[in-house]
Each structure stands twice: as structure tokens, then as C-alpha cells.
């Protein structure tokens, strides 16, 4: 459970609603809301009535990645007036993400490591971070995390296979679990504890019976997830040792539509492009936008040559990045948190579980793939 001694509390639903109204007045609160098509998305809320509560949804169709790495982000402005002047642009909005699921929190931890300190294989994560991404880091530091534990797996969820849920053991500020109409509150950080002490009248300490009940709820939830398990570790080994036969990627390439949807909905995919957007002859912005290794143009070089022009190589690339041990060593976990969004999104059924399953069925090839 939480890291702090006074780490277990109860908040009634009414009190939680009242507390949320306090938060909404003092910061930008991002919460799951229902879109016009009935889908649940993370969106800034104006009032408590906007929120789709945890008993109304399993997970948002898109991860909250965009509040840390926006789909389009201005990094600086340039202006020419007898010489260039560059002004960096940072988003220092104080935010709270309310209702984020454990899988998405684990994805944030993955991104923290990635953007926080480079990914040089020669460096251990304990050393001084190399080339930290200040745009990501500033947003992340200003965002308070209230996670919701999951009672019920969605039809595509497999977080238990990826060590990413259905509850968090760390890396949150507060974790809420629905219990008899109220919420059990776990505290995972100093600033989480500060929120409790600053609003103590909304909370009461949990009783020993309720602690037991919370344990039972978590146990039950785990059991419900049990039969969704995939063979991730086997896939990791095969991919790492280059023992996946190319015929697998060729088959997948025949189905892949090159749409990049997998990358866009994936909470850990974070490749980007950098472009200049001129506003006039003398001014404009440098902007980064999401990109995807699924696109052919991703590896285009000067002169127009595309280095990874074969679709099967691009598919191989994506799953190598997600699964290979070399990347696990760098990022301290593999690149899938089991949110299941690629299953929902891909028209061609090329998702993490389907690829892992296909690797399991394939006989390991003896010869390694060479460039």
C-alpha cells in the first residue's frame, strides 16, 4: 500500500465532489468526461458534473499523454530584428489529472525515464541525466496525479501481464479505490499527504475492517484479470535474440494500413517531428508534433531516400522498441502497459497481444536477422 504512515483514508462521495470543486477553482483539472459520441476522454473540466465517474467507464479512448507531450507544441518563437531573438515557450500551468488509470500512470513513469535523462546505453539512470527534456519535465512536475484503481478489466485490458495494474503500488500522489459507495484513499507522495492535511475535514482515517475490505477488493480485481494473460516474456526473449522469423512481419505488413493509429493511442509511444512554422518573413515558431515509426517518411533523409522503406521493417522496428531487452534495460520496463488501446484502434488486428501471441506460435528461427 502507500508509502506514508498515515496513508489510508476514506472520503465519502459527497466530500470528494466538494473537494473537487475546490481543486477546479485553483488549478486546471483534467478528468475523464463523456464526449459527444459517448466515448470517454481526458479533458479539462469546469465543474464536477462534467466528470464520468469510475463506475461509468473502464478507460479513456486516448491516454492523457497529450497533457505532457502535446500533439502539437511550440518550443520557441523566433523573431528577426537586426538579428535573431529566440524566446522559449513553456507550459507552466498547474494541473491535476483526476481518474487516470494505473496503466497510464505506469506509462508516465516510462516517459519520465525517457524524457528525464536521455537513453544512452552507456549511462546508468543514477548518473546525472543527459539532455533532459525541459518541456516535458516542467509539465510533469506541475501535474498532480489522482489515480483510480481498477475493479473491473475492460474487454481489451491486460495490465496484469505488463506489471502495470490494476492498482498502483507507487508513482501516484493519491490513489482512489471505490468502496461501498465511498472511496479508499492511498497516499503515495509528500504532496499527496499535503493535500490530505490541507483538507482534513473531508477525510477520515480508515478502519481496520475497511483495510481488510480494500485488500479483498484488490484481490478480487486481480482474479478477474487473470485469464487475459499474454506470453510477453517469451516474446521479449525471441525479439531480443532476433529469433522471430521475418515471415511474421511480412504477414503483418500485408495487413497493416500504415495509419500510425497504434502510435497515437499508445501511452508510451513518444516519437516526434520538429518543424518550423513561419508566421511572417521575420517571425515564426519551432514546433514539435507527434510522429510514428509506422510512417514511411519517418526515416527519409536529405535527397529523398527512405531508409526503412519496407513496411515489414517498420513493424519489426516498433515491436523491437517495445519488447527488446536492450530497451528494457534502458527504460527499466518494456514499452507496453497493457492498456489495450492498440487492440481497439487497429483495423488490421496488429496489437501487442496479437503480435505476442503470433510470436509464441512461431517456431524460433535459428539464424538471427542481419542488416
Amino acid at each position: 500500500m502507500g508509502r506514508y504512515e498515515e496513508d489510508l483514508w476514506i472520503i465519502t462521495r459527497d466530500n470528494l465532489f466538494a473537494l473537487m470543486e475546490v481543486f477546479i477553482k485553483t488549478r486546471e483539472v483534467i478528468a475523464p468526461v463523456r464526449g459527444h459520441g459517448g466515448e470517454v476522454i481526458f479533458y479539462p473540466i469546469q465543474g464536477i458534473e462534467d466528470v464520468a465517474w469510475d463506475w461509468q467507464y473502464v478507460n479513456a479512448v486516448l491516454p492523457p499523454k497529450r497533457f505532457f507531450l502535446p500533439q502539437t507544441e511550440v518550443m520557441f518563437e523566433y523573431r528577426y530584428d537586426k538579428g535573431y531573438k529566440i524566446t522559449p515557450r513553456y507550459d507552466d500551468q498547474v494541473r491535476m489529472i483526476f481518474g487516470i488509470r494505473p496503466c497510464d500512470v505506469n506509462a508516465l513513469v516510462f516517459l519520465d525515464r525517457f524524457f528525464g535523462g536521455g537513453s544512452l546505453s552507456k549511462k546508468s539512470p543514477d548518473e546525472e541525466p543527459l539532455f533532459p527534456d525541459s518541456h516535458y519535465i516542467r509539465r510533469r512536475a506541475n501535474t498532480f496525479i489522482i489515480a483510480f484503481g481498477c475493479h473491473q478489466p475492460g474487454e481489451n485490458c491486460f495490465c496484469v501481464c505488463c506489471d502495470a495494474g490494476p492498482f498502483l503500488e507507487e508513482d501516484y500522489d493519491l490513489q482512489l479505490t471505490s468502496m461501498n459507495g465511498d472511496y479508499a484513499v492511498e497516499v503515495g507522495s509528500a504532496r499527496g499527504l499535503k493535500i490530505i492535511y490541507g483538507n482534513e475535514h473531508f477525510f477520515r482515517l480508515i478502519s481496520p475492517a475497511e483495510v481488510k475490505e480494500l485488500g479483498r477488493i484488490k484481490e478480487d480485481a486481480l482474479n478477474k484479470f487473470a485469464d487475459t494473460c499474454a506470453y510477453v516474456s517469451k516474446a521479449i526473449r525471441r525479439v531480443t535474440e532476433a529469433k522471430v522469423d521475418d515471415s511474421l512481419w511480412e504477414e503483418l505488413a500485408e495487413r497493416c494500413l500504415d495509419c500510425g493509429g497504434c502510435s497515437y493511442v499508445c501511452p508510451t509511444c513518444c516519437c516526434y517531428n520538429i518543424v518550423d512554422i513561419p508566421l511572417s518573413d521575420k517571425s515564426g515558431t519551432r514546433t514539435r508534433t507527434w510522429d510514428s515509426c509506422a510512417f514511411a517518411g519517418f526515416t527519409r533523409i536529405a535527397g529523398g531516400e527512405i531508409l526503412r522503406s519496407d513496411k515489414k521493417d517498420r513493424l519489426k522496428r516498433r515491436f523491437f522498441h517495445k519488447l527488446s531487452y536492450q530497451y528494457i534495460e534502458k527504460n527499466k520496463r518494456h514499452g507496453c502497459v497493457g492498456c489495450g488501446r492498440c487492440i481497439t484502434t487497429c483495423f488490421a488486428d496488429i496489437s501487442m497481444p496479437s503480435v505476442v501471441e503470433a510470436i509464441r506460435r512461431q517456431k524460433a528461427t535459428v539464424q538471427a536477422t542481419k542488416p
Partner: protein, 273 residues
Amino acid sequence: MKDVYFPDITVIDDIRNETGDVKTFTMRFKDPDIQENLAYRSGQFFEVSIFGIGEMPISITSTPSRKNFFELSVKNAGLVSGALHSLPKGSEVGIRGPFGNGFPYEEIFGKDLLFIGGGIGLAPLRSLINNVLDNRDNFGKVIILYGSRTPGDLVFRDEFKLWQDQLDVTMLVTVDRGDEKWIGNVGVVTTLFPKVAIESSNSVAFVCGPPVMIPFVIKDLLKLGFREDTIISTLERHMKCGVGKCGHCCIGHKYVCMDGPVFSYGEMKAMME
């Protein structure tokens, strides 16, 4: 915290036409403190910004042994390089870096060095060649073999004589196709191999050139007895960020912008597209 995406402003002090489509730009950072403290290794690259057009990775062609300026040799091959080519002297350009690992330097003290360049591929090698020649006592024999398609595509021609006149430097140049004035060697760069005495046992070979050239050169070097880890080359990718984040330059688990762009042939062989 230093923003890794934030370029510093530099000024183009001089422009030399190397060939019809290659120019060498002599530049300095506008802020004298930044120029003063500039430290780089041969083989590293800068991210060059032409504001409003974009950014491109360009290897540094000047040697770190010469201060107060740096040089970039750029082929007009795309949007940003085309825009750079159109700029007059005195123009301001954004620079981030230096990035990448760079060539081994201290590690090759006492070694015989063989440089094999093709076309604009001589640009990164020139940095190391001049660095070696500025510290000549630290190294053994130096052989430079350079080839291009035509005499008009040879870069740094002004410097050839300087290099050739140095004691203990052997330099041979060849072109695929000569013209009426060309009296030198004709043929691909590997045809120069039999004309020089290459002793592989204490040598390191540096190979930079067009992708079509590299496999032939490596094949011949292996035949001459070079080990896979003594053949050093660079990989070309469009590194967008230069700091191991954007993902564009990944090959296998290597980021060309951070783990490279300099790799030994042994390392390259182990990579997986």
C-alpha cells in the same frame, strides 16, 4: 536547466564554393563566451537551424585544434541545406550541439591511420585529418585516399597540397570519370589500394562516403587484414532532435545521434534495421 532544443545564434563569416553544390561555411557564435568555450570532437555534428525553414544535422568539418571559428561543409541536397546555400555572408544561423560520439582520438595515438573518403564524405574526415596533422607526433603513418565522381566534385582541393606536402602523409586522389584537364587517377577509390603500402597490423581505417562506396571499401579492407573494430565509419540518418528523443535515427537499440554517428564496422554489423 539548459533547454536542449534552444539554438544559439551564429554568424556566417565566410563562404567558399567547394563544388557546384557544396559550400563550406566559416562561422562563429555571436556570443563570444559560447565561442570561447566551444569544445567538440572530430566526427560530432551540429543541428543547424535556418529559422522558418527548419533544422538539419551537419557534421563539423573544422578541427577542434583550431579555435575562434568552426566550419560546416554542406551539400545542397534538401530544403534546409538549400536555404543555407542561399544565405549571404553575415547571415545568422541557429546552432545546437555539438552532438554525437565523434571519432576515437586519444584511443588512436601511435597508430597508422588510413582515411578513405568519397565525395562530400571527406567533410567529417577533414576534421580528424587536420586534428591529426596539427598533432602529428602523436600518430604513425597517415594515408589519405579520396575519390569523387568527377574532378568538379572534389571538395577541399585547396587543402590537398597542404596535406600532400606534410612529411609522412601519402595522399592519392581519383575520380570515376575524368575530364579533358584531368591527368590523375581514374577509377573508384578502391583502385588506389594497390598503389600504397597499407600495413593493417597497427592501423585504423576511417571510411566516409556515399552508401554505394562503403561495402566495397570494407570488403577490401577486410582482405587487407583489418579487424572489424579497426574499420570506423559514420551512419547517415535524419537526426531531428540530436539528443536521443525524437526516435528518427534509431537502428536497433542504437540512437545514431547519441551512440553514433561514428561506429566501427563490427558494431554496424550487429545492428538490426
